[in-house]
């Protein structure tokens, strides 16, 4: 006796959260059954393995049918085939678009192309996440990217509107899209200590201040592309380090203000010019796409690492950066105060976030 056909269809679609998780995690039906057996469900319910198998198959089939709709979540809300309570719909969507930290760190800033997709095998092996799950996550990134890439208006709002994600998750996706679009390098070894949250934090600041949308809310791609003009203008900051007088004045202003307040004052004083040069040069280089990509590498190399090697406490870093940014206002010979604030305001936030072990 073999079961040829075995289905269960409810007027309200049954969603088993545990099975959904197994499905999202990319387990095959037999693996999922094995995992469920291990969870002790048979003992709790007195069911048999055959029942569990049939149940799992049913859920997998349902999820498979739902997947098409999950690719465009508003469709899930308007479709008529599956009657699902709104809270469950939200759960389905949110879980479907959720991603693994380990996975996102691997692809963050990479081009969401076929080439990257081919590397998913390696990512799967490296992270221990099933290939199927990697594919789903990758496809989600790519899908969201494609939809919002050229859209007008706030990136987070667009994502929320088209994918019905929670605010939290929509912000994460905004960061992913932003990174993918600007191809920021995040995979270098020296960046490994950074979490997705660190990058997402920076992305949000950059979107708010450095994109077209920061100055004009009526342009296409406003939150996705950096403001080219702004990047061009950043060259002007170069005089802060190129003009020796200005650099000295800047240093003395900062040192005067911080004397006695920093535990690492002497290190700061000794390193001031290097740090300042590093930060300003990063700005000046942002005209080239290649250097934009290396932004984080540069920040870590030029600022985070030197400070860390001198064992600056985080609070000293904060005091320094605040003073460093503010002092520029007192430099009479420097005319690009607004530009400096737009640059340094964001950078300061990013650096503070990036500064940890």
């Amino acid at each position: 006796m073999t079961s040829e056909l075995d289905i269960f269809v409810g007027n309200t679609t049954l969603i088993d959260e545990d099975v959904y998780r197994l499905w999202l995690d990319g387990y095959s039906v037999s693996d999922a059954v094995a995992l469920r057996v291990r969870s002790g469900i048979l003992e709790q319910t007195g069911a048999t393995a055959a029942v569990l198998q049939s149940d799992t198959m049913d859920h997998y089939r349902t999820f498979h049918m739902l997947e098409r709709l999950l690719h465009a979540p508003p469709k899930l809300l308007h479709q008529l085939i599956f009657q699902i309570p709104p809270s469950r719909q939200a759960l389905l969507i949110e879980r479907y678009y959720a991603f693994d930290e380990a996975f996102v760190r691997e692809v963050l800033g990479k081009k969401l192309s076929k080439g990257t997709k081919k590397d998913l095998d390696d990512i799967s092996t490296k992270t221990g996440i099933t290939l199927k799950s990697c594919r789903r996550q990758f496809d989600n990134f790519k899908r969201v990217f494609k939809v919002v890439e050229e859209m007008r208006g706030s990136l987070v709002d667009n994502i929320q509107q088209h994918f019905l994600l929670s605010d939290r998750l929509a912000r994460d996706y905004a960061a992913i899209v932003f990174f993918a679009n600007n191809r920021f390098e995040t995979g270098k070894k020296k960046l490994q200590y950074l979490s997705f949250g660190d990058f997402a934090f920076c992305a949000e600041l950059m979107i708010q201040n450095w994109t077209l949308g920061a100055v004009d809310s009526q342009v296409d791609d406003m939150d996705v592309d950096l403001d080219k003009e702004f990047l061009q203008d950043l060259k002007e900051l170069k005089m802060l380090v190129a003009d020796k007088d200005l650099l000295d004045l800047h240093k003395s202003l900062v040192c005067t203000a911080l004397r006695g307040k920093l535990g690492v004052f002497s290190e700061m004083e000794a390193n001031f010019k290097n740090l300042s040069r590093g930060l300003v040069n990063v700005a000046a280089k942002l005209t080239h796409n290649k250097d934009v990509r290396d932004l984080f590498v540069d920040l870590v190399e030029k600022f985070v690492e030197p400070c860390r090697s001198d064992h600056w406490p985080l609070n000293d870093v904060r005091l320094f950066l605040n003073q460093y940014s503010a002092s520029v206002h007192s430099l009479d010979g420097f005319r690009h105060q607004a530009l400096w604030d737009r640059y340094m305001g964001t950078l300061r936030g990013c650096l503070l976030r990036l500064y940890h072990d």
């Binding site: 006796m1 075995d6 269960f8 269809v9 007027n11 029942v51 479709q79």
Partner: protein, 1017 residues
């Protein structure tokens, strides 16, 4: 006489991409009715077109309005080649043809293609302007309401129940026409869908005409089926019960119940002798309910009071009042006489109803069934309905004569079915022989109905069980005893019926689903030989199914079956029998004896030991089941007698219960005679298997109950959480050495595993009851067995149950004094028997029934009963409940039951009767057979919901999947499935304050009834 049909195409959404180049679609819509077609403009390059068309107007006869479906086709415009069809929507406009139903159909409909399934949705608005038609010779029957529900719909009252209507239409099956060889599968499927839709419309119109002829205005319990006969044609047939219904206008309807005097009659003569007692009291009962003029729930209280006044108030309706209240022989005879005259004109006194207005059902005789085997290739004139009409007439005649043999003049819970395999067709009909109260069957009672107090002095809760046939001239050997409830009348030891458990039946404990499953191998044969082989097998199958049911019933410690449905399915090389029913313990019937096992070779020691081991196992199982289903009748009665205030739990159970019953009969003598205990003789391995299989049925896990009737006795506190589902399984038998035993085991496992799966899947709903569990078996191919189950899982609330019970206790406390007073006024004869101090059992029994039934004023009982069925009229009062402000996109509930727990149905919008075909030539790509069927059933649900929502409804009640024919050809990567579903579209309003109401109501209602009692005494 014409009507004007107006259609507007508003918009589409989620259309499929039809143009690969642009990834878009240039869609337009054809709207067709009859032979007229309109087209919308082409909406270029969009998957969400906004046509916003003008109103397309069709001027048509109302005959066409009834027959034809509105056909909407969505196409993709193609400049160079033929336009591609995206899909179709068929809309049955029948609901717009009667005034009380829907006025407009408006909403999003899934666009359906028989090859691709649902492909987007289309927003359509449909209206009908009907001109009044006074033509008496018209062919249409607009205005006759149809209900699938097999009881009187909730917001109506039955004025007259006219009786059986049936019709059958035949056509050539498009799949077997020569043209099918050259057309596409899509064209063929669409031709079939359209034809069945047309035939259904025609059938409904013709039935409507018959109803009008009978001067009815509605068909209740409408059941339409189609038979795919293959070469010889496609038959659509329907049966139903014609009624005259009145719409209940308002919650006021409930009020009469409150005032209804609790002057219930007591039956003085009851303690005398079962036989003719003429001193019955007269009409007692007030009509306590809005719907019907009398109710069976009037218990006999001892106020033998004011029948006279009551009578005087009652307009004599010729037949009613004279015979009032005679119980026993003369009454029975009289009743029968009258009813007979009422029924005589009718060719077939059959009723498709399974639940009845109170008092309608007087006695139940038993299950009657008839089957006949026919050869389809012998039909002389296959295109005409005559031959099939004759077949069915023959079967119905047989049913009628069976009923007569049982001393019954009517058949209730009647249904018909077929099973076809190649050219062999088994026609089956079954029902429950019954004696009915004539009052509902007559014209002229319309007025009287309201005020008439009928005499009904049949003991509430046990009257149904009393045998209708003559004890000395029994149609079959049966073991009769005096009714355990009233002690007056004879009852059989076991009752089988096809109807629902009457709400006022006295039941002890809870019920459970009982199934008998059976396979019989049959030699492959041709034509006549085949038919003969099948005919020869049928009686054995019936016998075995019956034996199995009886054994399982006894194993459960129960004594009656309700909702019995025996399905015999014919295949190439086997016959399958599946019987499902809900077992209960009726208080009126004797406690079932145990099951005794007897070996044939008593000398073998180890064998003896084995036997005694088995016996022990059986006894243990019975004991366990009794505990599980809370069946403990004798103890209960003792306690009740001991103390005036019964235990809360038992009390509430007794209140709720009451039953009708029947014992059963077919042509065969299936009754098991006078044996007190059931003896199973284990004389060969077969019998051993049987015993084993008895013990393999596992009870549902704790927290689960199941039944195939509408409600489960013992559970009355449903929550609003319901989940309707369909589950389908197909197994392939290994073709090697198939034996009957192996087959039986496979089939048994299939059903048991299916149930286990259901319990597991629905575990989050615990505590929960699977209601209306409906199994159907088919044999699509040689080695395939297909089982389809549709049911609804309803969660109930354990805590709430306690509360309700508590209020009952309070009630009974309050009433205790009254009870005592009443006791004193008992007429002497009864008193002597019923004084609590008298210890001997019969008296106790009697008193028990007296206290359980009569202690409570009628109105209050009514309330209790209503709580048992959540849709009770009691809830009518709760008008203040706000309509469910459901913000989400039109949730539509579906249920096979006639009610929605925790809600009140305010409007019936019309019948939903849909037929779909789905075919695929890429089975693997669609996820194999399971993926294919899963998607299709989900789509069918979606289309039903969409139609209901478009009618303005939010639920389908009495939903049934009548057919699910699945065929596959994995080698060709093909599969095809036909599904036919029906139900009643309704609007319901949630009783959000249900709890408040249910606790308050008894108090409110108690007052008037108590007063009534005082007045009368």
């Amino acid at each position: 006489m014409p009507g004007k049909l107006k259609v507007k195409i508003v918009a589409g959404r989620h259309l499929p991409v039809m143009d690969r180049a642009s990834d878009l679609t240039d869609a337009f819509v054809e709207v067709k009715f009859g032979n007229t077609t309109f087209k919308t403009d082409v909406y270029l390059k969009s998957l969400n077109p906004q046509w916003n068309s003008e109103w397309f107007k069709f001027e048509v006869d109302d005959e066409d309005l009834q027959d034809e479906p509105l056909q909407i086709t969505v196409l993709d415009h193609d400049t160079y080649s033929a336009n591609d069809a995206i899909g179709k929507v068929y809309i049955d406009i029948d609901p717009l043809l009667y005034s009380e139903a829907a006025t407009v159909i408006s909403g999003w409909f899934p666009i359906y293609d028989t090859i691709h399934g649902i492909r987007g949705e289309i927003n359509v608005v449909v209206k009908v302007d009907l001109f009044n038609d006074l033509n008496r010779f018209r062919q249409s029957s607009c205005g006759v309401k149809f209900f699938c529900t097999t009881s009187i719909p909730k917001c109506y009252r039955a004025v007259i129940i006219h009786g059986f209507v049936e019709e059958l239409v035949v056509n050539e099956d498009p799949e077997y026409q020569w043209i099918d060889r050259i057309r596409t599968p899509r064209a063929s499927n669409e031709a079939r869908q359209r034809l069945i839709s047309l035939m259904s419309g025609e059938l409904q119109r013709k039935i409507g005409l018959k109803v009008l002829e009978m001067r009815g205005n509605a068909v209740v319990g409408y059941l339409q089926c189609f038979d795919l006969e293959g070469e010889s044609g496609l038959v659509v047939r329907a049966i139903g019960t014609a009624c005259t219904l009145d719409k209940l206008s308002s919650p006021a309807a409930f009020l009469p119940a409150c005032n209804s005097p609790s002057k219930e009659m007591k039956e003085i003569p009851f303690n005398e002798d079962p036989n003719p007692n003429t001193h019955s009291s007269g009409p007692s009962t007030p009509l306590k309910n809005q719907t019907y003029s009398f109710s069976p729930s009037k218990s006999y209280s001892r106020q033998s009071s004011s029948s006279d006044t009551d009578l005087s108030l009652t307009p004599k309706t010729g037949m009613g009042s004279g015979s009032a209240g005679k119980e026993g022989g003369p009454f029975k005879a009289l009743l029968r006489q009258q009813t007979q005259s009422a029924l005589e004109q009718r060719e077939f006194p059959f009723f498709t109803l399974t639940a009845f207005p109170p008092g309608f059902l007087v006695h139940v005789g038993g299950v009657v069934s008839a089957r006949s085997v026919k050869l389809l290739d012998r039909i002389h004139n296959p295109d005409e309905p005559e031959t099939r009409d004759a077949w069915w007439a023959e079967i119905r005649q047989e049913i009628k004569s069976h009923a007569k043999a049982l001393g019954c003049h009517a058949v209730v819970g009647y249904s018909e079915s077929t099973s076809i395999c190649e050219e062999v067709c088994i026609l089956s009909a079954s029902g429950t022989a019954a004696v009915l109260n004539p009052r509902f069957l007559q014209d002229g009672t319309v007025e009287g109905c309201l005020e008439q107090r009928l005499e009904e002095n049949l003991p509430a809760g046990c009257g149904f069980c009393h045998i209708p046939y003559d004890e000395l001239n029994m149609p079959f050997p049966a073991h009769l005893t005096y009714c355990y409830n009233c002690r007056k009348q004879k009852v059989p030891d076991v009752l089988f019926t096809t109807i629902d458990l009457p709400i006022d039946a006295t039941v002890i404990g809870k019920g459970c689903l009982i199934q008998a499953r059976l396979c019989r191998l049959k030699k492959k044969a041709q034509a006549e030989a085949n038919a003969t082989a099948i005919s020869n097998l049928l009686p054995f199958m019936e016998y075995e199914v019956h034996t199995q049911l009886m054994n399982k019933l006894k194993l459960k410690g129960m004594n009656a079956l309700f909702g019995l449905r025996i399905q015999i399915t014919v295949g190439e090389n086997m016959l399958m029998g599946l019987a499902s029913a809900t077992g209960v313990y009726l208080a009126a019937l004797p406690t079932p004896g145990g099951i005794q096992i007897a070996g044939k070779t008593p000398n073998d020691g180890s064998y003896e030991q084995h036997i005694s081991h088995m016996q022990k196992k059986i006894n243990d199982t019975i004991a366990k089941n009794k505990e599980l289903y809370e069946i403990n009748p004798p103890e209960v009665s003792e306690e009740i007698i001991g103390s005036p205030i019964p235990e809360p739990r038992q009390r509430s159970r007794l209140l709720r219960s009451q039953s009708e019953s029947s014992d059963e009969v077919t042509e065969l003598d299936l009754s098991h005679g006078k044996k007190d205990a059931f003896v199973l003789e284990i004389d060969d391995t077969d019998a051993m298997e049987d015993v084993h299989s008895l013990l393999t049925d596992v009870p549902p896990p704790s927290g689960f109950y199941s039944c195939n009737t509408e409600i489960m006795p013992g559970i009355n506190n449903w929550t609003s959480e319901i989940q309707m589902f369909t589950s389908v399984r197909v197994i392939r038998l290994s073709s090697l050495n198939l034996t009957n035993q192996a087959l039986n085991k496979n089939f048994n496992d299939l059903c048991e595993n299916l149930l286990k799966s259901l319990y597991f899947k629905l575990r989050s709903m615990i505590p929960c009851c699977l209601c209306h569990v409906n199994f159907t078996v088919s044999l699509p191919e040689d080695e395939l067995i297909q089982v389809t189950v549709t049911a609804v899982a309803i969660t109930f609330d354990k805590n709430q149950a306690l509360q309700t019970t508590k209020t009952h206790v309070e009630k009974s406390l309050q009433r205790a004094s009254t009870d005592n007073e009443e006791l004193l006024q008992f007429p002497l004869e009864l008193c002597s028997d019923s004084l609590p101090s008298h210890p001997f059992p019969p008296a106790k029994e009697h008193l028990e029934s007296a206290s359980s039934n009569s202690g409570i004023p009628a109105a209050q009982r009514a309330v209790t009963v209503e709580k048992a069925s959540p849709m009770g009229e009691g809830n009518f009062r709760n008008r203040s409940a706000p309509p469910c402000a459901n913000s989400t996109v039109g949730v539509v509930k579906m249920t096979p039951l006639s009610f929605i727990p925790g809600a009140k149905i305010t409007k019936y919008l019309g019948i939903i009767n849909m037929f779909f075909i789905r075919e695929t030539t890429s089975l693997r790509e669609e996820g194999g057979v399971s993926g294919f069927l899963h998607a299709f059933i989900a789509e069918v649900f979606a289309m039903v919901r969409a139609h209901v929502a478009a009618l303005g409804g939010n639920a389908v009640v009495s939903y049934i999947m009548k057919q699910c024919v699945f065929m596959e050809n994995p080698n060709k990567n093909q599969a095809q499935c036909l599904i036919n579903v029906s139900g009643d579209a309704v609007v319901f309003v949630r009783e959000s304050e249900l709890e408040v109401v249910s606790t308050q109501q008894p108090t409110a209602n108690c007052q008037p009834s108590c007063t009534g009692g005082e007045v009368t005494t």
